[in-house]
């Protein structure tokens, strides 16, 4: 089951990267430059009760532990929490159903100013959450998703996040990344030289906190 799910997730990941690249309306690559070979963490997953909470800031690109110059406005701020309560069912990709939570995401980059506002993503439903057992996140990692609305346009999209609690403080250690499935947008860091587990991007502020049980 785990192997099938990993294969399905890997296939989906590759397909989505190709799709996102081909759909980018601005013609540039939304994925950070790759240094080293991606190791595709977050692909060995299991259904387990847990909770992941917090929020903060990412300076993407490049997504390192360093803040970009503030005047560049190259940063994203967010809050996100997920509560995994597996109900014994999985979706077509093998993701564990039975989750709830919320996500709020703001991308302050000028190129993502849509209809006069920074790109603002707001979750409508968290549908699934998997506990990742293949990451080097010291306290735990998770991959979860659902449906969100792009508040700038009203368009809805499926999404998934890559969520990593890698000790404290969260800044410089923890990671977070997001990918939309129905809109060409992602903030993912495929860089094996960065902490923590790729493709999550290193937080430059805030914290991700894994609660093993709830």
């Amino acid at each position: 089951m785990t192997n099938l799910r990993s294969l399905a997730a890997l296939t989906a990941t590759v397909a989505l990267v190709l799709l996102a690249s081909s759909c980018d309306p601005r013609g540039d690559n939304a994925v950070a430059p790759t240094i080293g070979k991606p190791s595709y963490h977050f692909d060995i997953l299991e259904c387990r009760p847990f909770k992941m909470t917090g929020g903060g800031r990412i300076d993407y690109p490049p997504g390192t532990a360093d803040k970009n110059p503030p005047a560049s406005h190259e940063y994203e701020t967010f809050g996100a929490h997920v509560i995994s309560e597996p109900n014994g069912q999985t979706d077509e990709l093998g993701h564990c159903l039975g989750a709830k939570g919320s996500l709020e995401w703001v991308d302050h980059r000028p190129e993502w100013n849509i209809n006069g506002r920074p790109l603002n993503l707001h979750s409508l439903e968290i549908r699934w959450a998997d506990f990742a057992t293949d990451t080097d996140c010291a306290d735990g990692g998770a991959r979860w998703g659902g449906i969100l609305v792009i508040k700038n346009t009203g368009q809805q999209s499926q999404f998934e996040v890559f969520d990593c609690d890698n000790g404290e403080p969260g800044a410089g250690h923890d990671g977070f990344g997001i990918r939309l499935w129905d809109f060409p947008y992602e903030v993912l860091c495929f860089d094996s030289s960065l902490p923590p587990a790729e493709p999550s991007c290193t937080l430059t502020g805030g914290n991700r906190q894994l609660h093993p049980t709830h």
């Binding site: 929020g55 903060g56 005047a71 406005h73 929490h81 403080p169 969260g170 410089g172 805030g206 906190q209």
Partner: protein
């Protein structure tokens, strides 16, 4: 019966005490003005006491003739848990103009983070900050600049609180000096985040 009653009297306070020991609070706001005639805070988010996240946004903000700000967002998240409590307040704004150009910035981020491991303001920043005509980059915590005829401003204000931290990226204290000395007339705060866990 008497034993059960006695046990309940012992048990209930101990549970209540346990609950009191685990709290996580977080809040954030974009702009707040407090004067004799104006008392307004927007947008504001306070994490639910039972745990969870709250968010609010106000788009463009204008408060009297004192402050204008663009793209103001506030997010607050807090969860109390044995050994795993965390709280994060997060306020972000685009261009800000305070007191008709006396203080301007093109981006403000305030982040307050509290965990069992401590409190920090990592991620907080000011972009293209100009105070009274002087450009300032990355002011150190609690940098005070006098504003003649107005009062003073504290930049990157970081205040330790009980089990937490409050971050005010721009805090203007309005003052008037007269025969009776210096009198505080109000406050303008832009980009504020607070968090605490215990």
């Amino acid at each position: 019966m008497k034993i059960a009653l006695l046990l309940s009297l012992i048990w209930v306070p101990s549970v209540a005490l346990g609950q009191m020991q685990r709290t996580a609070t977080a809040q954030a706001f974009g702009v707040s003005v407090t004067t004799a005639t104006v008392n307004q805070t927007t947008p504001s988010a306070v994490a639910p006491a039972e745990g969870g996240m709250a968010q609010n946004d106000a788009g463009d903000v204008t408060i009297a003739s004192l402050v204008t700000a663009q793209d103001a967002y506030a997010i607050a998240s807090g969860w109390a848990d044995d050994g795993y409590s965390d709280a994060i307040g997060n306020a972000s704004l685009g261009s800000v103009n305070i007191l008709n150009g006396l203080i301007t910035a093109t981006g403000v981020v305030a982040i307050a983070t509290s965990t069992a491991g401590g409190n920090d303001a990592y991620g907080s920043s000011l972009a293209n900050l100009v105070v009274n005509g002087v450009s300032m980059s990355a002011p150190e915590p609690n940098t005070r600049v006098d504003l003649p005829g107005v009062g003073y401003v504290v930049l990157n204000e970081q205040i330790a609180t009980v089990s937490g931290i409050t971050v005010n990226m721009i805090h203007v204290v309005l003052q008037r000096t007269g025969l009776l000395g210096t009198q505080t007339l109000g406050d303008i705060i832009v980009g504020s985040a607070s968090s605490s866990v215990n």
